[in-house]
Symmetry: C2
Subunit: 218 residues, 2 copies
């Protein structure tokens, strides 16, 4: 039942970028743009219909063929084991099942101006039945997308989708505490840390660390 | 992907019992025995191997044929919509998939002294990968099992299983705030409310209410 374990809003910009920064002695998992840069590029949520351009990044619905472009950075990020509660030895088919969610959920990709897929997000209800009015989402940014506002653009897109689809809140179930840039990004987008579950995540370098539950009512 | 949405440790003793009590003007979802009664019956956790007798209730592994005995109260509880984030119109096959979890997860039943199945619990890892050392579980007690210590016996069994299996903590993702007797039971078994997600559950009578995230480190 891999499905149980999805959701969560991990966010990462890939291990290779992180390694390069660690070699350079730079702290932090990855560089994200400040709010100002996105604002300067036209902050209004330019999502129209199923796709839109946000902060210079095109976000569009996936087609099945997009998995081929997602899988390389999905694999890199999951194998790093620093931000996602997926098996580090994930196979391609398992990855596809985890990430390419069927309707009414959605998986989108972020493309740069040359049509290169540099990120992806999936979104769906967090629970069924009496909990189905709360959405959740997860995010990945390719190493080559780092520092280009892709995470923020995807986050804004997902929030606009959830509001538009009639959800009343969004919940991230498992944001790794040490992923401080992601936590800061989600806070800047209106999320609050509701709880930090102590030692609920085993980080390959840091050992046991917390998982944040983050939440935003609309 | 119904699997995404499982887990959570709803706990209920069936709607018919609740209705009868509401007609009688009695508050509370269902009657649970106090700690003292269980203690009087031999508090020590008498789980040996895959099954055990706890508080006068036999808890044993399920076989596929047990679903026939679980389904009637599973359906009653889910259709009431007061304690579980499952679709209220759940079908029998969907119910079986939600409840009868494959190894390494487990589903157990509670039997009374006459061999009647009066409750059930399922248990498994709450996340994969770096989160797979935290267990979760869900519980149901049949109306005819109400007030007989079944919920407590199942809870103690599940905690013993999780410790024995090497998990380092247990998390309940979605305990309905209005299910106060369940919340009190989990607290008495060592769980703490880590967060209450506001309006994250829609109760058919009470409207929007909170979902507790409950957690216990071992």
């Amino acid at each position: 039942m891999p499905g149980i374990l999805g959701g969560g809003a991990g966010f990462t910009c890939g291990r290779s970028a992180g390694r390069a920064r660690r070699r350079a002695g730079v702290r932090g998992v990855c560089r994200l743009p400040g709010r100002s840069r996105v604002a300067a590029q036209g902050n209004g949520l330019a999502v129209r219909g199923p796709s839109g351009i946000l902060g210079g990044v095109l976000i569009r619905e996936t087609e099945p063929a997009d998995w081929a472009a997602i899988w390389p950075f999905f694999r890199t990020i999951v194998r790093a084991g620093e931000t996602y509660t997926y098996p580090r030895d994930v196979g391609e088919e398992q990855g596809r099942e985890l990430w390419m969610v069927p309707p009414p959920g959605r998986t989108v990709v972020a493309e740069d101006s040359e049509g290169v897929v540099i990120g992806s997000a999936k979104m769906h209800a967090n629970h069924m039945g009496g909990g189905s009015h709360v959405a959740t989402a997860s995010f990945m940014v390719a190493p080559e997308g780092s520092g280009r506002g892709v995470g923020r653009a995807l986050g804004e897109h997902v929030l606009a989708w959830a509001r538009g689809a009639g959800y009343r809140a969004m919940q991230f179930n498992a944001v790794v505490e040490s992923n401080t840039r992601a936590v800061a990004l989600w806070k800047s987008l209106g999320f609050e840390i509701m709880a930090t579950l102590p030692e609920a995540f085993h980080h390959p370098e840091l050992g046991y660390t917390g998982l944040h539950v983050m939440y935003q009512k609309f």
